[in-house]
Every structure is written in C-alpha cells, then in structure tokens.
C-alpha cells in the first residue's frame, strides 16, 4: 500500500446545523489517497450527515468539501465520477433482479457490460443474479449495495457502515476485499462505523467523531497503544478475560462455519 500525500477527501470547517441541532461542527478532515480511513462514532455522532455532505446530498451550513480535488457543491455531481458509495441502509429497486440493479448502475456510470459479472463474482452474488432485490436477505442486499459501489472501479469508496447486516464471515470477507482493493489497486476507502473492532481491523487511520466534532485522529497503531494503556487502568482482569473470550469465540465460529478467516486474522 502506498499512501499518497494528495487528499482524496478534504473538508474545512464543515458544519451542518438543523434548526437548533448542530449535527456536524467545524469538521476538518484530510483523507489521503490510498489509505483506509475509519470514521468512528456512536449513533447520532454525525457520521451519516458528514457522508451525505461529502456526496453532495445535503448542503453544508458552513465550510467546504473537496473530493478527489474537486469542490463539492450542491447539485454539482461531476466530482463523483470516480467515487463509489454506500449511504446508510443498503437499498435497491426491489422489483428488479440483482443483475438489473447493477445494469442501471452500469449505464449511469458508463461502465463496460463485463463489469457486472466480474463484480458479482467479487461479491459472491452470482447465485442471486436473477433473483429480485426485494427477495434478498439483508446480508445479500448489503453485498448488492457494495457491488453497486464497486462496479465502475472507483478511485474512492465512501462507505457508511459497510458491515451492516453481514454475518461474521461476510464481515471478514468484505474486510479482506477492501484491503485488497487498497493494496492492489490503490483505492482510497473512507468508511464510517460505530463498531471500533470493525474499524480497528481495517483502517490505516481512525478519526473519532462525537457530537459532530472530530475529537481524535490517529493511526491504528497509535490508537491501539492508547487503547491498551487505557484498558490497563480501566478494566478489571475479568473484563479483559471476557473481551479475549469474545474474540476467541468469533474466531472459533468462523472456523466452524468455513469462513475465510479460518486460521487467520479474524
């Protein structure tokens, strides 16, 4: 992986206010090309509002957003030509099949028809190609949403809670897929999550957002060191034992169910 110095996403004093609620408060972000940036925060911290502003879906009250060097302004969607995205819940046209949903995306992103089959293979959606999206399980809907985001081989992926609805094996699979995209194709990933473990496994840098403000930003290693130091003081030996047991149980479950993490990182 080569992390560039050029910003894939940069925001300056980005602010969104809904009447008397400050959803995002003077957010300064700098996501470098070729890295995975984990945007971590509790529910309601301002993650989805930030992502909606990054994608031009809502107008900032103040501040500015640049995506791949282009300023995002409301209604100006040209900046998203090289961006794949998944916003909040995974949705698709329920009356259309998986293939037809991807066909719509293909046409609107001017992508080669062959990309549909290769992306379905990448996301293991081939068995469901002719199944209507409305009949898919939540996990497969999430895969379809990810396939839509990846179809046109974007340079930047903006993913809002990408592991939503996926089972543990699916989470590991998507984790490995995103890592491979970054390492092999130099894709930049900006992903939000409210689950630290999900971000900690994958992100190169992590930003923690709370009540609309970026309260911490550091590399995974730095954050892990801080977390270890904090845990040494904050947790009882029983709580630490419980946390280890949870990790062991997840790994055992994946091994028993033939998940991709068998014997490897979970």
């Amino acid at each position: 992986m080569t992390v560039g110095m050029v910003s894939a996403i940069s925001t300056h004093a980005l602010t969104k206010r809904y009447h008397d609620v400050l959803a995002v408060d003077s957010l300064d972000l700098d996501v470098r090309q070729g890295e995975i940036y984990g945007f971590l925060g509790r529910n309601g911290a301002g993650k989805t509002t930030t992502i909606r502003m990054l994608l031009g879906l809502i107008r900032p009250t103040n501040g500015e957003v640049k995506v791949l060097g282009r300023r995002v302004s409301s209604g100006e969607t040209d900046a998203f030509r090289r961006v794949g995205y998944l916003v909040e819940t995974a949705t698709a046209y329920p009356n259309l099949t998986v293939r037809e949903n991807l066909e719509i995306q293909r046409r609107l992103t001017r992508t080669n028809p062959a990309a549909i089959d290769s992306t379905m293979a990448l996301l293991r959606l081939e068995p469901y190609a002719e199944k209507r999206a409305g009949q898919l399980s939540l996990g497969n809907k999430q895969r379809l949403a990810l396939a839509r985001a990846l179809l046109h081989s974007p340079e930047l992926l903006v993913l809002d809670e990408p592991a939503n609805a996926l089972d543990p094996a699916g989470i590991v699979e998507i984790r490995e897929l995103l890592r491979a995209l970054v390492d092999e194709s130099g894709v930049t990933v900006f992903m939000s999550s409210h689950i630290l473990a999900e971000v900690a496994h994958l992100a190169d840098r992590i930003g923690i957002v709370h009540e609309g403000r970026l309260i911490e930003e550091s590399s995974r290693e730095e954050l892990a060191a801080k977390a270890r130091a904090f845990a040494a003081d904050a947790y009882t030996p029983e709580e630490r034992e419980q946390a280890l047991l949870t990790a062991d149980l997840e790994r055992y479950f994946l091994a028993r169910t033939g998940g991709p993490a068998e014997g490897g990182e979970a």
Binding site: L55, L57, S74, T77, E88, I104, R107, L108, T109, R148
Partner: protein
C-alpha cells in the same frame, strides 16, 4: 447521457405491477360508461336484473353515440387530473419510499436529467393508457350499437380525449415537485385531490379560466358545457408546466436530500 438515464427510468418499471394497475383502473371507466348507456337504453331489462336505472336517468344523458363519446372526454380529463398525478407520484416518490434517491442523486449525472427522464416516462405511460383505453372505448361503443355512433363523431371524440389528456399532463410537473418536496406518495395524491376539489369549486366562478385546476374541467365540460378556452388559459397551463419542471429540478439540486 440523457438517453442512458431515460433507458434506466424505463428499466425501473420492469415487473412493477403499478402500470398494470393503472391500466386496469382506467379501462374500467368505458365499461362503467357502457353499462350506464345500456341501463338508459334498456331500463326494463336493467330493472329485471336488479340494476337501478334512476341514477342513470338523473344524469341527463341519452343512450346515443355522441353522448357516450363526449363523456369519454370527461373520463380522460378526470383521469388526467387524478390518475396521472398518481403515476407521477409513483415514478418520483418510489425513489424515496424505496430509499434509492440517495443512490440516484450522488451519481455523476446532472440531476435535471432524472427529472426530465421521469417526466418523459410519465408522459409515455399516460399516452399508452390513453391510447389503449380509447381503443377499448371505441370497440365497446361499436359493440353497443348506439344510435348516432359514426366514424366522424368517434374521430372528434378521440381528438377531444387526446386534447384533455394532453392538457392535464401540463399539471404533472407541479405534482412531481410536491412529490420530491414531500418525499413520498401521500403529499402529491392529497395535492391532486385538493386541486381537483378547488378546481371544481372555482369552475363555477368567473376565475375558472385562470385557475389551472379549473381549466381542464371547464374544457371537458365537467362544469357545464365544454368551453373553448381563451389563450390566457393555455398560457396559465404552460406557465404551470414550466414552473413545475424548474421547481422540481431546483428541489433536487439545492434542497437537502436527506431521507
């Protein structure tokens, strides 16, 4: 790019039951009208079958070809004011109800193309309905064997119906704007019903020629005899069309698109 957007808008209707539902709904109108005509023509037999003829007699209609065909114009005018808003609400509103608007609006495509393509799909859908149901109406009219049913009268009725359908389409973009502003189905349907109610009310006043939702009822003879409208009425409708298109595009471009 518009061509691709238009293709995908048609593709989105694949396997949808709604177009068939609208066709089923509108195609019932000529059947109902034919039943009405039959009751008027055969009151004795209708009474034997338990069909009440009093309401039919009270309508002031006669069981003739011209009466049947002129009532068709009302069917398409009313259809254009009620069914067409439903179609527009479905095409625009499903993106919010199915939560796909966020996917659509972040695509690298000028949002005005989505508005225009959806309005083209609504126009095509409405045109297909009108043509199919008009054909059905003419076949039923011929089968009824009503006196005065001639090719000339039928041609006139087809022209009138197409004109009523086309004129009512000019109100569709405003419904589209209400749909994207309200992000769902209920707003535009309530708006269409309210427009029709106020239109009927004002249709009996001197302002009828200037109020968009009174113009169609006035033209098709829903409130009194069909009238030839002044140029100003057409200007009002054209202005409503332009305002509706511009407002819908502006809503998608400049308003927050949070679902």
């Amino acid at each position: 790019m518009f061509g691709q957007v238009l293709i995908t808008e048609f593709l989105k209707l694949r396997r949808s039951k709604v177009p068939w539902g609208t066709l089923g709904g509108l195609s019932l109108a000529p059947l109902g009208l034919a039943l009405f005509m039959w009751i008027l023509r055969e009151p004795g037999r209708a009474a034997q079958l338990g069909l009440v003829g009093a309401k039919a007699n009270l309508s002031g209609l006669e069981a003739t070809g011209p009466a049947y065909l002129s009532t068709l114009t009302i069917v398409f005018g009313v259809g254009g004011m009620l069914l067409l808003p439903f179609i527009v609400a479905y095409i625009f509103g499903r993106e919010y109800v199915e939560a796909t608007a966020k996917n659509m609006l972040a695509l690298p495509i000028d949002r005005r193309w989505f508005v225009i393509a959806k309005l083209v799909v609504a126009a095509a859908w409405w045109l297909v309905l009108v043509v199919v149901v008009l054909a059905e109406s003419l076949v039923i009219g011929m089968l009824l064997g009503l006196p005065g049913f001639s090719a000339g009268v039928a041609l006139g009725a087809v022209g009138g119906s197409m004109r009523a359908a086309a004129i009512s389409y000019l109100l569709a973009p405003v419904v589209a704007w209400v749909t994207v502003a309200g992000r769902g189905y209920m707003g535009p349907i309530a708006f269409a019903l309210a427009g029709m109610a106020v239109g009927n009310l004002l249709g009996k006043t001197g302002w009828a020629e200037w109020f968009p939702w009174s113009i169609v009822p006035l033209m098709i003879g829903m409130v009194g005899q069909p009238q030839t409208l002044p140029t100003g009425s057409y200007v009002v409708l054209a202005a409503m069309f332009v305002v509706g298109v511009v407002a819908t595009i502006a809503q998608l471009r400049f308003a927050d698109n949070a679902q």
